[in-house]
């Protein structure tokens, strides 16, 4: 007799499985499980922006190395690095600096990949000047930020590494010198640093430096894929972390003004914040009180907002101010940050990107230092299936409202073997600002450069061809970079502003500019780092719509001074020197 005792098996169908608990152990990379919010009806307005990838013809041929191409054993191999638009030779043409990584097994000395500096030669062409500039350093690079550290009129560079970080002094003759040891900003040499930003937190006219660390990473001590629950994703073994791995941290260096820095992390209160995995750092006057604050995007832990207490110290108020979590209080895998004023209400807002299964955050400042996450309400909940990295809150169509461009890409090269619906390479995203607090996804209308799929990371924003619209340089994992040229059509006007501090730091890092033209008043900060571990063109770009001139400009300098500058005709670059009150138009080279 083969009778079964379990004649009552079907009893268990009575809803038993509806009440099972969610697995107790989180996977390593936080993923919210959010699904796409349905799109609102299209506005029907044409989008005059078309991005074309011109990297190859421009001469950007560097191959990006960052760990193993096909399978990542450790999280160090997955995150990628940043890019920069900076005019290192002051010729009026933005040059490009790209941060390169390495691989765990290393390289023969002569074959080791280095960072790259491409000089903008004009007419859309770039030349590799890495070796001539003295920047041909091999290592596992991550982030980049720039400022005029010694106020000599030349932009200096800071690059973060897994290993010692490097401060490069710009010699003003096309070369850089490694001044890390003298400056004392290299760190202990074993840490995995990611974000960095220069800022003048004490208003002494010298830029200080904040450096973030992702995790305390040692390959031999880090578990292998699948070894623990935090080494799985959707049930499959993947590299571990960040959850379950030792936390990173942040270090604040004060610039003594003599070429040296001192670590003030403890005295300043920065070190009080604990237990976070930090990526991009942004410094700007977020609460409009005239003092530079700090915001750090954190992965799988609450993001951090250090409010400047105006006495050399900071207080971390991310949760209190409403910029640490999602709208509904969830922890998120924060990657990149952009700070601008998307609704033209005069207050700086924060855009942060996150992991797949989540929405970005659009933290709208509604009062001094208070924020609400309006991402879904603003129409940014439509693409949660992408991991979003570099991001820019920039005016792409020059209509006077800040749009959004984001680059995406998965972290696991083998992801499609885990879930066939999730590719490693994914397209870019473009959202048009409708001017009513809402954005619409116009990626499909934004040209072939946006439609192309890569596993992208860093992205820097600037106008490399000086034709009056914002272009983008993008780091693509294990491939050459993209240089997305904006071929904007239409009659909208624009205006660029370059600041020069005298009492303030020379590059005016931390300044906020309010530009009035036509019916709009736009607010924009000068940032040393934003997007994903990247550095944007320091010239601020404003779209003016149909306004043929700028009516006036207010600059809130990092020194605390507020200065008015007269208006000027549209479609040009103005140099505003602190204390002069003059708007000096500067010719644009092409």
């Amino acid at each position: 007799m083969n009778r079964l005792f379990a004649s009552a098996v079907l009893v268990f169908f009575s809803g038993l499985a509806f009440h099972l608990a969610v697995p107790a152990f989180p996977q390593g990379m936080i993923s919210g499980g959010a699904t796409a919010v349905p799109r609102a009806a299209p506005s029907g307005r044409p989008f005059p922006v078309s991005f074309v990838d011109v990297a190859a013809e421009a001469g950007l041929r560097m191959k990006f190395t960052y760990g193993n191409e096909t399978r990542k054993k450790y999280v160090i191999e997955a995150n990628g690095s940043g890019a920069a638009f900076l005019d290192y030779d002051n010729d009026g043409l933005p040059d490009i600096f790209l941060v390169n990584g390495s691989r765990l097994e290393g390289f023969p000395k002569a074959a080791a990949p280095t960072n790259y500096l491409y000089r903008n030669e004009g007419k859309g062409r770039f030349r590799d000047v890495t070796r001539d500039a003295g920047l041909d350093r091999a290592g596992w690079g991550n982030g980049v930020c720039a400022a005029d550290v010694d106020n000599d009129g030349n932009l200096d560079l800071y690059v973060t590494y897994w290993g010692s970080n490097v401060l490069y002094r710009n010699n003003g003759n096309g070369t850089f010198s490694d001044v890390t040891a003298r400056a004392g900003v290299g760190g202990p040499g074993s840490e995995w640093s990611t974000g960095c930003t220069f800022l003048d937190y004490d208003r002494d006219g010298h830029v200080d430096l904040l450096v973030t660390r992702y995790i305390d990473f040692t390959p031999g001590k880090t578990p292998m894929p699948g070894q623990f629950p935090f080494c799985t994703w959707k049930g499959s073994p993947v590299y571990c972390g960040p959850r379950g791995l030792p936390f990173g941290g942040a270090t604040l260096y004060h610039n003594r003004g003599d070429g040296t820095f001192e670590d003030v992390s403890i005295h300043s209160g920065i070190r009080k914040a604990k237990d976070f995995y930090a990526f991009t750092a942004v410094a700007a006057d977020l609460d409009g009180d005239g003092w530079t604050d700090i915001y750090i995007a954190c992965d799988s832990t609450p993001s951090l907002y250090f409010r400047n207490n105006r006495d050399g110290t900071f207080r971390e108020i991310g949760t209190e101010a409403g910029v640490a979590y999602s709208e509904h209080g969830g922890e998120q895998a924060g990657m990149a940050v952009s700070v601008s004023d998307f609704d033209n209400d005069g207050r700086l807002d924060i855009l942060k990107t996150n992991f797949t299964g989540d929405y970005p955050n659009l933290y709208r400042s509604f009062r001094k230092g208070f924020f609400n996450d309006v991402s879904v309400k603003a129409g940014l909940g439509v693409n949660p299936s992408y991991i979003v990295w570099g991001t820019g809150l920039v005016d792409l169509d020059n209509d006077g409202w800040k749009d959004i461009l984001q680059v995406t890409g998965h972290v696991y090269p083998e992801v499609q073997s885990i879930d066939r619906t999730e590719p490693y390479k994914t397209p870019r995203l473009v959202y048009r600002n409708l001017g009513n607090g809402r954005f619409e996804d116009v990626s499909a209308m934004a040209g072939p450069g946006v439609a192309q799929a890569y596993s992208s990371r860093g992205a820097a924003f600037g106008d490399f061809d000086n034709d009056g619209d914002i272009d983008v340089v993008v780091m693509n994992m294990h491939e050459a970079p993209s240089l997305l040229r904006n071929d904007l059509k239409g009659a909208n006007h624009w205006f660029k502003v370059k600041l020069q501090g005298t009492k303030s730091n020379r590059a005016a890092i931390g300044a906020t500019v309010v530009l009035r033209a036509g019916k709009l008043s736009q607010t924009e900060p000068v940032l040393s780092q934003s997007s994903f571990l990247s550095h944007n063109d320091l010239r601020l770009h404003f779209g003016l719509g149909d306004a043929a001139r700028v009516d006036g400009i207010t600059v809130r300098w990092p020194s605390g001074d507020v200065e008015e500058f007269p208006g000027a005709p549209a479609d040009g670059l103005a140099l505003l020197v602190e204390g002069t009150g003059k708007t000096e138009m500067v010719p644009l080279r092409r």
Partner: protein, 341 residues
């Protein structure tokens, strides 16, 4: 003890076949002589390691006593002995899920469904649990199959709507919600689902009549009140939102998301004292939930009490670390399971 001794002696002397031992064990189990039954099944399994009824029955015996770690190896052996057997696959899947091995459980349920492709109830269970495993697309596919089988059952619609929504198939979710409200026009849930999806489409104006109908059909149903309140919040009508959100939390006092949203509405109105009272109220019911503490941190901060704000923040962070699973869905909509059939 006498029957146990006799049975064991009989078994040793006679070396009966596994079917006989199985019969004896079943009889013992039915008569609540469970220790004896367990020993007989194990003895039978020793003699015939691949004999399916014994493997399955012993696995089920442990399963029915919620001894999942003991049930798992026997059910696994049963499934190996008879790979196409529905019951062993289903029970093994459920066992694994109860052991927090969701992925492995889903594999077994897939095999069970292959054995009985038309099993509607299993489809519903799988649709829900596949979503938990983040196999959203598969969950939606199964839920649609279940709906095709039983288009007269409102629960089939509701599971399919949720599954499609979680799979990012918003259009499909919307279409099924529309069909549900047309087929069951007086159903509070059907009206709510359609209204909810219209709201998420940004069509608050179209959504609100359906949410209102759902509220009228079932004034004790908390979700329509919550989402109607959210519609009003999206239109910056905070004063009106407060009333609906208050009803939602009255209907379900431990509905943390509604309570937190009510607090947010009160914060927008700068009625900070009321926000504090609401958050403290829900904390008395859900003291381990980090969200009210998080909001309290923000309220105190706006009230200028930064030290208290700091304390609430730290408490919120500690609770979050202690119970990572406590947070509700990112979209603020706790899953509402269909009633048991």
């Amino acid at each position: 003890m006498i029957p146990l001794t006799l049975a064991l002696a009989f078994a040793l002397v006679q070396r009966p076949d596994p079917a006989a031992l199985n019969e004896a064990a079943m009889k013992a189990a039915a008569e609540k002589r469970e220790e004896e039954a367990e020993k007989l099944w194990k003895q039978a399994a020793e003699g015939a390691p691949g004999f399916f009824p014994v493997l399955f029955n012993l696995g089920f015996f442990y399963f029915s006593h919620s001894r999942y770690d003991q049930a798992e190896p026997w059910l696994a052996r049963a499934a190996r002995a008879r790979p196409d057997d529905f019951n062993s696959r289903y029970l093994l899947g459920t066992t694994l899920v109860n052991l927090d091995r969701l992925e492995a459980g889903l594999v077994e349920w897939r095999a069970a469904l292959k054995a009985q492709p038309g099993n509607y109830k299993l489809m519903q269970i799988m649709a829900v649990n596949f979503s938990k495993g983040r196999y959203f697309k598969e969950a939606a596919e199964i839920a649609r199959r279940a709906l095709a089988l039983r288009s007269d059952d409102p629960n089939a619609y509701f599971v399919a709507i949720t599954s499609c929504q979680e799979a990012g198939e918003a259009d499909a979710a919307m279409e099924i919600a529309h069909r549900a409200v047309e087929k069951f026009p007086d159903s509070a849930r059907a009206n709510f689902e359609y209204g909810y999806h219209l709201q998420k489409l940004g069509r608050s104006e179209a959504a609100m009549p359906y949410l209102k109908k759902a509220m009228a059909a079932d004034p004790s149903y908390e979700e329509p009140f919550y989402f109607y309140g959210e519609c009003l919040m999206n239109e910056d009508r905070y004063e009106e939102a407060v009333g609906y959100l208050r009803t939602s939390v009255r209907n379900r006092p431990d509905y943390v998301m509604a309570s937190v949203t009510l607090a947010r509405a009160l914060m927008e109105l700068e009625r900070y004292d009321e926000a504090v009272r609401e958050l403290e109220r829900v904390l008395r019911l859900s003291p381990k939930h980090p969200q009210p503490h998080l909001l309290l941190s923000q309220v105190y901060f706006r009230m200028g009490d930064e030290d208290r704000a700091q304390r609430e923040k730290e408490l919120s962070q500690r609770l979050r670390r202690e119970e990572p699973g406590i947070m509700e869905a990112p979209q603020g909509r706790p899953f509402r399971p269909p009633p048991a059939p």
